[in-house]
Symmetry: C2
Subunit: 409 residues, 2 copies
């Protein structure tokens, strides 16, 4: 890591690179603990935050072989309602939390076999799920396709409106004194005599500005590895995973075509439909190892096809938006949260250093409260929850990692 | 018709209600003949002009039982290139005329039977078409689906970029002195001592303004019948026919996936793909007797599904726009062009009265040059082409007509 002695223009206890839900939640909680905070974000529009379904369903989402992540996700989901309630009290804004639960259904026999295997595994992990026959399914969701012969209702699953949630976080952070700067953190460096500096590239006179802080938090999603001056193993730790999703709306006069989050397996493909309080229905999501934001005809077709296969009335909804975002995938698809570099604090002083909070992949919304808790603990000299232990940056220090090279052509 | 003696604020020889391709083409040609012209349009955004594929293919579009319309469409298609060339010379703008022709293909055996029957009919009507086997189809369009076993190539078919064409018409009209007003013609009335007046509802101080002219041309698409003061049978003559279409684009690096206009019958449904010079591909179109502009999930799905069925590479294109427009359908689906009311001119004077130029349904772009020719002839005391004879307003004077009541709920 380079060392600079240049005196920066702006100072804060904590400088956060990235203003998605992760960076903003950290900023809000750190400010509530009395720290001064600057959040810098370039507003590139590819933030995964804005292209999310907002499902908070750790067990309905869990798959074989991710025990540590499941434990963390369970902690995250249990933390979410209290965090959201505090956020709503602080701002007076609704985040659109829904509590109807998830109805998982299968389209054909093979899909049903896979759903049964997954349900058995999820129950062992603690999922409270009720198996529904065709009649019970239709009682829960009257518009389901006749081909749906049964399903699994997960009662505790929640969902949140990702955009309302992000807007409330931003409002709370601003109210708590967080300063937001429009610009991209291009580099970080240790300063003499103490602390860290982040270099900002941004519009107009912000070009090249240095911002100083006792700690710098790297929360720039899949672009986190592009920041110069970070440890080499972090430069290779993140990759973009493109996702496309649709926002549909109920036209005037059409009753709600669904009330639960519906997850479906349709001839081997996963699709979900998440209803919002305001009549919006989110349909997602594709997953491709690419870094473009193109909305492709094939993805839109497949999402609509699969959604209409389980809920034909979706054809009557209007297409309000089709959008792509880039999820921050890590080398092992788990989040990366902890000290990347730490200066020994003077006696009685809080720790100083470089923190990372990235790689949240498909779970950024759900993990944002516990990530904010963990990073705030680290910033104030406390220990984060034990569930974070498997997700510190050190695990990524392997010699064979190679940097992300862009999408295959 | 009411009679007013109020002195209007603005005067022109010709007042045109409606600034789509029909009204604008008439305005341009009338101005070239030395007439002063005002075109009034509310800019509602539901103009069929903006939601069109721009196919100029009278025979590839023809179906059984529309002989008079076919003759008119053939006249229109033969007139188009010369009109477009004059328009491009006048403005320096390209209208994106393409001459590669139409390749009609069938998806399955039943579709192929229908295509063969239609082709036999179209050949009798004069279509110059070459039947292509699978190999020749793929030579013409290498990305066709393997399931396409043959097709019919119509060599003379053209297409035009509807938006470039509309923009060029507008530029030519302005250059020729046509005045464009932003507002809706809500009523027309005969004036004393002579001529006609149109009442304008529009933003700000244009509310209620009267515009006077020797002739008023009703070219307001499906809303033409909503103008007060017109003969009663015209109030019931037009209805909106909703169409949805998609605009796709080639992402960077992808070669053109088609060069001809492709028309396909896919399990009984018609779909077309029209390539543009700039890499855009228009996919259309649905047809529903509705008056809303909702873009529905079902329509987007079906258009993508059918397009990808014949040209799988469409899945790689990006979805740039999905949009609905309202075609102006008439009681018999033919255009309605001619005098609706005519005052006897003084000796040596040009005729005065109320003209209608609406109901062009699916063929507004193609018919706009010959419609402009016909209306300009009528305005200057000449006879329009004989092919217009079956399409005068009088044919609609039937007692049983009922006004359009809105979409079924």
């Amino acid at each position: 890591m380079p060392v600079v002695s240049h005196e920066p223009g702006q100072e804060a206890d904590v400088v956060i690179a990235g203003g998605g839900v992760i960076g903003t939640a950290i900023g809000w909680r750190a400010a509530l603990r009395g720290l001064s905070v600057i959040v810098a974000d370039p507003g590139w529009g590819d933030a995964a935050t804005n292209v999310a379904a907002g499902m908070l369903a750790p067990l309905s989402e869990s798959v074989f072989g991710e025990q540590d992540l499941l434990a963390l996700n369970l902690l995250a989901a249990s933390r979410f309602p209290g965090f959201a309630a505090e956020l709503e009290r602080a701002t007076g804004l609704s985040v659109g939390l829904r509590t109807e639960g998830t109805l998982s259904v299968a389209f054909d026999r093979a899909d049903n076999d896979r759903l049964k295997r997954l349900t058995a595994f999820r129950r062992e992990a603690g999922l409270e799920a009720r198996e529904l026959d065709a009649r019970a399914c239709r009682a829960a969701e009257p518009f389901l396709a006749p081909s749906v012969h049964g399903g699994v209702l997960a009662i505790g699953d929640l969902s949140v409106d990702n955009r309302r949630y992000a807007a409330a976080l931003h409002a709370a952070a601003v109210a708590a004194g967080v300063r937001f700067l429009s610009g991209r953190v291009t580099a970080v460096a240790r300063r003499t005599p103490g602390g860290y500096a982040a270099r900002l590239a941004g519009p107009g006179d912000r070009e090249g500005e240095l911002i100083g802080g006792r700690a710098v938090v790297l929360a720039a999603g899949w672009r986190t590895g592009q920041i110069a001056g970070i440890p080499g193993y972090l430069a290779t730790a993140f990759r973009p995973v493109k996702g496309q999703l649709l926002r549909l709306r109920h036209p005037e006069g059409l009753p709600a075509v669904l009330t639960h989050t519906i997850r479906a397996i349709v001839t081997g493909r996963d699709v979900y439909l998440v209803p919002r309080a305001d009549g919006e229905v989110v349909v997602g999501a594709t997953q491709d190892e690419r870094d473009d934001l193109d909305v492709t005809a094939g993805a839109v077709h497949d999402l609509l096809h699969d959604a209409m296969s389980v809920l034909p009335a979706v054809s009557e909804l209007t297409l309000a938006e089709a959008r792509a975002g880039l999820r921050p995938g890590s080398a092992d698809n788990g989040p990366v949260v902890g000290w990347a570099e730490r200066s020994l604090p003077a006696p009685g002083q809080p720790p100083s250093g470089l923190l990372v909070a990235a790689g949240h992949f498909r779970n950024g919304i759900m993990l944002s409260p516990v990530t904010a808790d963990a990073v705030t603990s680290l910033l104030t000299g406390d220990q984060p929850a034990a569930d974070w232990k498997p997700f510190t940056p050190e695990r990524l220090q392997t010699p064979q990692a190679t940097p992300y090279q862009g999408s295959p052509s």
